[in-house]
Symmetry: D2
Subunit: 420 residues, 4 copies
Amino acid sequence: MNNGFIIKELGKREHKSPLELQTWAQEDVRILIDATIHNDNSDKSVNTLEVSGPHRRLFFNPAETKAAIVTCGGLCPGLNDVIRASTMVLWHRYGVRNILGIRYGYEGLVESYGHTPIKLTPDIVEDIHQKGGTILGSSRGQQNTGEIVDFLEKNNINILFTVGGDGTQRAAMEIADEVGKRNIAISIVGIPKTIDNDVAFTERTFGFETAVALCQTPITCAHMEAKAVRNGVGLVKLMGRDAGFVAAYATLASSDVNLLLLPEIPFTLEKVLEFLETRFEEKNHAVVVVAEGAGRNIIESTGTDKSGNVKYGDIGVFLKEQIKKHFKSKQKEVNIKYIDPSYIIRSAPANANDSVFCFQLAGNAVHAAMAGKTAMVVGLWNGQYVNVPMEKTTSTRKTVDLEGHLAINLLDNTGQPPLV
Amino acid sequence: MNNGFIIKELGKREHKSPLELQTWAQEDVRILIDATIHNDNSDKSVNTLEVSGPHRRLFFNPAETKAAIVTCGGLCPGLNDVIRASTMVLWHRYGVRNILGIRYGYEGLVESYGHTPIKLTPDIVEDIHQKGGTILGSSRGQQNTGEIVDFLEKNNINILFTVGGDGTQRAAMEIADEVGKRNIAISIVGIPKTIDNDVAFTERTFGFETAVALCQTPITCAHMEAKAVRNGVGLVKLMGRDAGFVAAYATLASSDVNLLLLPEIPFTLEKVLEFLETRFEEKNHAVVVVAEGAGRNIIESTGTDKSGNVKYGDIGVFLKEQIKKHFKSKQKEVNIKYIDPSYIIRSAPANANDSVFCFQLAGNAVHAAMAGKTAMVVGLWNGQYVNVPMEKTTSTRKTVDLEGHLAINLLDNTGQPPLV
Amino acid sequence: MNNGFIIKELGKREHKSPLELQTWAQEDVRILIDATIHNDNSDKSVNTLEVSGPHRRLFFNPAETKAAIVTCGGLCPGLNDVIRASTMVLWHRYGVRNILGIRYGYEGLVESYGHTPIKLTPDIVEDIHQKGGTILGSSRGQQNTGEIVDFLEKNNINILFTVGGDGTQRAAMEIADEVGKRNIAISIVGIPKTIDNDVAFTERTFGFETAVALCQTPITCAHMEAKAVRNGVGLVKLMGRDAGFVAAYATLASSDVNLLLLPEIPFTLEKVLEFLETRFEEKNHAVVVVAEGAGRNIIESTGTDKSGNVKYGDIGVFLKEQIKKHFKSKQKEVNIKYIDPSYIIRSAPANANDSVFCFQLAGNAVHAAMAGKTAMVVGLWNGQYVNVPMEKTTSTRKTVDLEGHLAINLLDNTGQPPLV
Amino acid sequence: MNNGFIIKELGKREHKSPLELQTWAQEDVRILIDATIHNDNSDKSVNTLEVSGPHRRLFFNPAETKAAIVTCGGLCPGLNDVIRASTMVLWHRYGVRNILGIRYGYEGLVESYGHTPIKLTPDIVEDIHQKGGTILGSSRGQQNTGEIVDFLEKNNINILFTVGGDGTQRAAMEIADEVGKRNIAISIVGIPKTIDNDVAFTERTFGFETAVALCQTPITCAHMEAKAVRNGVGLVKLMGRDAGFVAAYATLASSDVNLLLLPEIPFTLEKVLEFLETRFEEKNHAVVVVAEGAGRNIIESTGTDKSGNVKYGDIGVFLKEQIKKHFKSKQKEVNIKYIDPSYIIRSAPANANDSVFCFQLAGNAVHAAMAGKTAMVVGLWNGQYVNVPMEKTTSTRKTVDLEGHLAINLLDNTGQPPLV
């Protein structure tokens, strides 16, 4: 059981770690080298996922297949990579010649909007991955499921790829249900899109790594602006509605952040202001990163958006105003520079690593759809591409575990105190 | 067993896939959602890996611990991140105050070279991750194991972090053996460094993703140069001695490559020249990417380097000359532009994603060492940081599986024919 | 007179140009190849400028000279380059060993603030040009001239380099006046800093070209965001209080802008809204760039800032709100994304071309100061570095000439209609 | 005459400058604020240049005009900008509808090569400036002037824009001569292209600033590689056949270069090796930048290229070998890393500042051509766009003046000793 890599006199191991943690490495927990299971009889839907890949027998006859791709919700680096790769694999690998690009999200699947789809070919998509955005356009909000399935039927569409977040995949699941009820054969395969990286049952979503990389410049700039004045605050609002992964990884990569506020980390305004006062005494400046979904306990909601998400006031603007007000009331100088780089990040092209990921993700989405899979999304899990039932992927979300190692790394990195 | 996501009339699944593959997705293969094993009695050293992380009880008393870090071999993005993070975690988390940066690789652990170590503190390492290279310097080649252990003993070093490739970790294993023989308590913990990403039992090595990203510009430039002239060839040599992952991923991310030559892909010079002739007739230009270790069957070895690796002639220069010669002999025009970006890539700073990875890797190396682990390296496996015995990690190497999905993606992407 | 490069049958030149211009190239206007004048007796202060450069005889004895550098106002790429180059030239070329970096702008020259200057040496400044911001810190607003001169006298400062904009150089002129009145020998030499490039008698100010380059990404992102939705507007606010050079050059470089609003271009809100309505009918989206000082006729002033500049409401936010309101009232969809990249640009490091410019500018400032010049700033004019009296440089400002070729290029580039 | 900016007690100016220069600032030399001359009777062809710009009366009737654009020689950032802007201005400003893009340089103007020109329209050129290279292709070498004029006549081309270097413009002058002899009305207007920035009578050539910027990364990488090993040399070969401006400005911008070798700076191999030995003793590493045309006294010529330029052996490879050989013979360690980034720089897209420059340069070329100018190139001089007779522009070249301020800045910056 000794793997040959423990110092012999382990009996002397008698020093208490100075770390204050809730979770420690456990000697009896190990990682399987091979996480694949063959011919297992356990309840597969509970603790395993189907492996993605090309199938020997197809459900659809490529020569007669008509596929459509729709991109929904906000921009995310990699959308054009996904459109490009789906088209390329359908066309070159399977010989599918009818590929439609649906315009402006689900709107484009409702006849009354009158958005004509684009015919997608390798020539059209060849270079699109070099630009950000989506060549198809997008929109937010729900459309009538029945009307969408009418559109699919009327246009003889056999496969629909739905590229979008939570709401998009929930709507896709409803489309698949309605397709099932009508007893027609249309495959609905999702490619999860969230810059926040909080989709369950996929280690990673496309655009996330690009976003983390693109957050570095705003954080560095905030640092420079903050250091250049007395009592300078560089305040950067980053992505993260419910999960703070972008802000967390961006902070770890930068190492210039002094205070990190995530949706997962409870904090009071008083503690934030107190932190700044202390910091000014020691260092004259501070870099603060706040995820857009942080501090919902301290700001008010302002209704819901078209996709049904609850809307809140802007935590970045709120903090900027509150910090100004506080120091003014104390007659202390504060120079706050607020940076909100969201649109510069969301509309950027994918970096190399995300491009490769999009290529492989879209390829597996095509393989699944051609084999007749439906009501599923593609994901990456334990190093393998997997097919995840939409029901499963929309049932829960990943968030930053405050007792996990990422959270510990963050506290180490910023050195920030408890904020409640 | 139906996960609710197969189209009902699956009986109709009767079309043969047009893909020509050796490996197909298997319905009965699934991925475990949780690849961790608790209290298992199976042979752990064979099919599982130990989980990394901080331990409640330490082997070394932080107040008395002296740690040293050594960086060996060629440059790789992230070396300074690793030096920085090790120092930060040792200092801030554990309170270790004696941290030495060993100069110029293993040379710095041999007294007769006279390289004085640098004292590492948070102040010194604060911003080093923003620059490429290694602040410690590096060297290639073997040193006498006994002399190294003499140095460690004489300087009262308790922990040695060895940052380097295959050769470095094999030497580290010998150091750990010698330490064991002398019955002294020095922990030897490795952090695998290879820009080629071919270390076994870690999904990823630091610097790899940065390298793939930095290969994009040379490939794009080769494309522009090739297209700008009649019968233009843009030839780019990328990293990859034994495994072609860098060239492979760079090709997938770029989508501009027409011919990819990897160490894993057998090819003859004749087939390469034939490919170019055909390509010129159709397209007037070609982009060729060759990994440095490709084509060993067609060039001669030129001895071994200081680290004992067999050296070969330069495949890039060889191909350039052969292509010129061939077309000259056929009195056809060829305009070849050869780009070898190796040093521009190796000496770059890590990108954001690699920075985070280095931070977490080095943190876990410190946790392991403080707990008295030795003769091991840290890695990432199935989404978790793991401690891998040096014996295991140096016993084999990852290569591109020519029957796997990556290879299929590559052929799809380049459209290149068989080359033998 | 025929320079040998007019087509012979010039008599046939009989076609009217389709261009509608106010200003045409005039055949009888020519450019002097050599704009330098030797031993001229004309009124030099009116139509010529003194050439910069090192002098054979110095006013100050390097061994006894104490120099100080102060950076004032907002951040601008290149501040650290100027600090670095001044220090390097003083130290290495002249042997000056007392160089002070004044903290937080003019505040640092007033004793009661208690900001201790930094001792500048080649070691300290070696790498600072690789980062944005200013290592000295900055502040806005006026300080008492008498107190500043008291500080200079008390600290035996012989040379003061004032790096800043209009207000800074006006204050510097007052310091030079007070120094003159006290009959003491302190040289006050300015280095004009304005990201807006509107300083008179210098072709260029440092940071301007870097800023133009850094505006490209936000404009591209605005384009991507606008195109991705129906009736999308990408609205980007760029620098330019009184002169729109940054927005103008950024627009020319990008070629993606459909509407450009500069301080120099009169426009009404109605015409802007009308333009958008027309544009949506044709193209479904629009990219709008507005300089921060544009539209002062349509927004209200909100007092003055610490430096005495009149403050206005935020034209970017104003336009965003008005556009939303307008289309809502017409029950038409509009999706506006507003990007304000100001701090990301101002705090960036200088690009290569600006770095060289800063090096040469600062070098000439040192040469002038050592030779006893005072109440002057350095500039670039007709390809030569020049010494410009502060009185001259602060007497007027450059703006975009609406009848000049730049303005014509802009209208060509955007295709926008008259806006009044 | 006192401009109010000399310290009063100037009589005390009694200290000798420690600088050792050949050229000093002269008090009696001044710069004209306005370098334009109106209605002057002096010999214009000698000391003045014609101002560029649109003319009220045209020589060619836009509706009947056929224009062609040809790009020759090696790649340079901005070629596509020039193609794009020429097309845009011809089409949108003048209404010209027949615009040909000539393929593969002058080859495309010789019928026997059979290269069909591309029809250029705004749609085709819209985004081409975002990519490097030239969409038209290029070639080197001379073609028969008579055949070219035959082609122009046969295809009814009225205007030919020749984008290329010295050789290209000399050939263009011969074409204009032949056109003159045939007494036909074809305007030949050049746009000088040289990444080396050595064209006479233009302050700047397009692509130069982009090149200087792109040299920064290779120099930084060379620095990192050199510092990472004992006796490390980072050797970078940069552009510059006859003039070292790229290497010079890149060195000034970087400040990491220890030895700079230009075509203009005489040096012996012995002095270079001596410098390295001394440097290793002090600093253990060195960064060396060599312009491709440096050291012609120490390497042999290897014939001439297709354009008639004398070819020399590769000075970078030569130095690398000689340095290795020297230290081997002295049994001293040397670790040399050689970087030749030429193709990565030449094939890059133009940066923002160069894009604007290309736009304005091409616009003025179009204005000149439409007005019937011929045998001229456009340039920038003393801040104005000018028309320069081809005879003048090809008669001489700019080089780095070893007694001028640029050379002094370089010596300051590198600290290198005399090398002969």
